[in-house]
Symmetry: D2
Subunit: 336 residues, 4 copies
């Protein structure tokens, strides 16, 4: 039994993480932290967890935290997270970090994209990126795993192997993504006020979203291909789900069939990747750790459709999958 | 006062059309038809119109219909519509046709795309396409106006003038559209059953949607530019609205600013086109005849965002606007 | 042409009010105020109104305001509103007040329910309650009209005439209401954050909601019947609409048919009240000033179902209707 | 390992049942039937189950079915279900029946309410009603368990023990329920077409819903109290969840506190019943087998709020709970 602590447990990803871990036979949640000084009971913050886990959320203190846990998940925002993760590392606590702090392998790029100094620059570059389907070996032995961004997960799972196989032209690649509003986190603002975003669709962060360089950076690391993805996210009036529509030009000689076949083979042993014949619905992966992928074409463009649950395969499910890999557990534990 | 008849009045576009016409001081609805042999009262089919218009829906009979109307709107499906429209034309009734029958200027293309013989091939090619902002002169004197497709409206309003001005490369142009579910019409099916499409996003008709050749055909007719748009529609869990995200490469020397400026100038006198600085929300045009357009960029791509209400500017609002143009009324009548 | 000013124009009711008044041939909006010191342009606050009304929102100053307006709508919160309304009154500006300040005819009751001193207690009791179907004569000559609460509107329209006719037992009457989330106003909070209230239903304010004494007070004033309504509102994941399900016992000798017949007769000349045979859907009144009412029964209880758009008949539509009555305009102007 | 068969596996309750059973360590699904003669693969009917269970749906044939299963769930409609269940019983297959066929203990009442002859009248009256919290002993030894109706579950869990304790007056009791649209099943119709029921609320089945006599019948059987509940369901634009608002008069001497205390004590050992201090949200029980209950008051009425997931605690979760009880498994298996 592994004693697990979660740093920053008041948001949606932590809520999903707790739900998954409560089903995990080899994990016991022993510590939850938040920045709320009143140390609220978990059920006061997440009423859906009432009677399921009897813990209070305390302020983070590295000594008391490390005394009680064997493994940590950090759900803190970027920059804040690396400060905690570096302390946990020093005390030998393996960690899955939900923030963006260690996703890019380049401190300068991080500092440009996030507009802040990196609090733990030495570690950057040596941290495994947490998509087991692409980086399982590195994850297995990692001390810290950078849990992937939700949009990058939906884009990289189809793109990375196809780019590596040289079957798609590296430019222009367009990733047009649609996300449910839980992706915005659990902090209220007018933009996410129900009557403002219900019955509406809009793009945001055009040309500037931080997941754009993350996609490029990981395609490059995995496939050794330089790619300048054009990524546009859209807010959709639903809770959960990411649907990415990816437009790319096929390399000479490749067809829809050869691309689908490549993905089918590449993912043939993977329990969470399903290559479908029909366009995937986010509904079909909702609440699951699956990524459904379909390759189609439109005129001269390959159109790849992928669907994940942003909070599961795009966040907490991936985190538990990483936890399983890091600890040598059956990879699907608590995830089916 | 113009006496107006609506053929095929049981769907959503007819419902919106009736609501708009009830506000029109120069229009009086005198005839409604449907294929329901029981001649239901309008309010039995559209309960929201109860006490607003006291008419029954009768079967279409060209003689009785034409005796009572000066102007017709046909909301019939493709092929069925042209059969009726040709009869109305013979009797001198000017008509706005909501179907696709006269949108393309080429019978062969129509028959390929719609998989059926055209019932009125001689008229094809001489019918005005119903976007007044682009084809006002032709509409003014037209006997039949082909009301535009909802997706094409959202794509052509930004693309046509920019292509004509030579400011965008003709290929590849990607139109990634998101539509509310009223766009699927008012016929129930499992696909549009609430629990199947709520909380879900999916693409459909990838590479095969009939609005793809419509966009090309109209860009060519308006701009004299050959374009092979890659168009992908997505179903969004909301009632109304279309949001199109258009990716294109700028012609040499053009910038986001010059494109926005061109659109601002081109549409400076148009009451229903708003060029915005911020990404448009479909919510902001919901229930209106506006099209909001914003030009942005992402890396080397121009990203144009456009938003309309699919049932108004994408259908019935455009139809009333055409009606106004055809009859010399103030173009905004009943539309603000 | 009446020059109209709106105090507190940044919320949803003001937005709907402006949309309605823009269609009103005898009203011209000349002043908008908000508490935002930067004097934002209307379109910055309400992007859907872009290009429709070229006004800035200024801070409220009674002199400049009254110099420019003949008639005012106050959309301020309770207590704040009466302070402004009393100043407007002193300068002879007739006003429709959206707040609760003058709805109850009893200062003590107001102060108990709202937990604050009333800033203008002398006027309380002499202000007309703004449901024209019940209080038209008083509204016609009023200087101030208290625009009704949204829930009370949905309850009083069916209950008041039936209570006055002695056809329902005064106790117990249960009003179980369901409201769209725009009813919560335009201030973001976690409770109304999209992922918190989407896909969920919950009751709130059980036993304590301020509209409960308002319903009682108005039934008493209209019908001279003492009633202690049990009122429970519920939040529904939709933008707009209130549906009230009212349970009451029939007085001896009354039946569903006699109740429906009474309502039909009582409202026979009213343009906005529709007595339906089938349970009303909020969808059918959405965006309109209608109230649909249906009388049914279940065992020994009369079950009355009523549906309104909370922002129109429940707020801004009623306000415009009051404006029309107060100024002798056709009562349906701008409302059909 | 118990081999499980599901009769009528193409609907939403079967889908949820399969998902739950896939997590059950002592159950193996060996047979699925549907009336589709083409024997579709499970994943063709339920794409979300792709790669999770490799079975085709076959036509029901009692011999082949019984050869492969130790335990059955019938998800057939009423009347059709009893025909199958009686055959399964004859062959000694224990069954949980989702239909209404054995819920009432009175054939005549069944035939009146459902307007059809009962195909297996002898068994009626001796079948356990499947709410383990109320009828656990009978369920444990039952051959057939009548899985409860979704609305009755939400009403009986709070009402039955309080009625038995004599703490509420038996009349009038009003149950005003709100349900997500998955409760309507998986057959498309205009009423449940997305654009017809989204953004709308309406009551249905006022005075006639079949769950009304079911609630009465079970209160009587459990509590020995004659009750004539007035039950009104409402359709809510969401997928899942039932919220019931129950109005009753307290028996002399009882208070909100004593009622809440009674429920807390009665359910103190129950893993799936949570007595809350705050009004429950259906969101907090969504996807779970919990029933959250809160006792409040409004004037002289007790107002009890209860929330369940209609497909889990209101259907398939209850079925698995019954399966666990019948087989002596830990009652929470596969349900947390």
């Amino acid at each position: 039994m592994i004693r697990v602590g979660i740093v920053g447990a008041s948001g949606y990803t932590a809520l999903e993480l707790i739900k998954l871990l409560l089903r995990h036979p080899q994990a016991e949640i022993t510590r939850l932290t938040s920045r709320d000084e009143s140390s609220p009971h978990l059920s006061a913050v997440h009423p859906s967890l009432r009677d399921r886990l009897d813990l209070h959320m305390s302020l983070f203190d590295v000594e008391t935290f490390c005394a009680d846990v064997d493994f940590a998940f950090s759900c803190l925002p970027h920059a804040a997270s690396a400060e905690v993760v570096s302390q946990l590392c020093e005390r030998g606590i393996r960690t899955v970090d939900f923030s963006a702090d260690y996703r890019l392998d380049n401190v300068e790029l991080f500092e440009t994209v996030y507009g802040t100094r990196h609090p733990d620059p030495e570690r950057v570059g040596s941290v495994a990126y947490g998509i087991p389907e692409l980086f399982r070996d590195a994850i297995r032995k990692a001390h810290v795993v950078a849990n992937p961004g939700c949009f990058p997960s939906s884009a990289l799972l189809p793109l990375a192997p196809l780019m590596k196989a040289g079957m798609l032209c590296p430019a222009p690649v367009i990733v047009d993504s649609k996300t449910g509003i839980s992706g915005a986190g659990r902090k209220s603002s007018l933009k996410f006020h129900f009557p403002e975003c219900n019955e509406s669709v809009a793009a945001y962060g055009v040309g500037t979203h931080r997941h754009m360089p993350e996609i490029d950076n990981l395609i490059s690391r995995y496939s050794n291909v330089d790619c300048n993805v054009v990524f546009t996210p859209h807010l959709i009036p639903m809770d959960r789900g990411i649907h990415s529509t990816i437009y790319a030009q096929p390399a000479r000689g490749t067809t829809v069939e050869s691309l689908a076949s490549e993905l089918r083979q590449f993912y043939s042993d993977e329990p969470f990747i399903r290559i479908t014949d029909q366009p995937p619905l986010t509904r079909n992966v909702s609440g699951t750790n699956y990524c459904d992928i379909c390759v189609q074409s439109s005129r001269d463009q390959i159109v790849i459709l992928s669907a994940i649950d942003n909070l599961i395969k795009g966040a907490s499910g991936a985190a538990v999958q990483n936890f399983n890999v890091m600890n040598g557990f059956e990879e699907t534990t608590a995830l089916l």
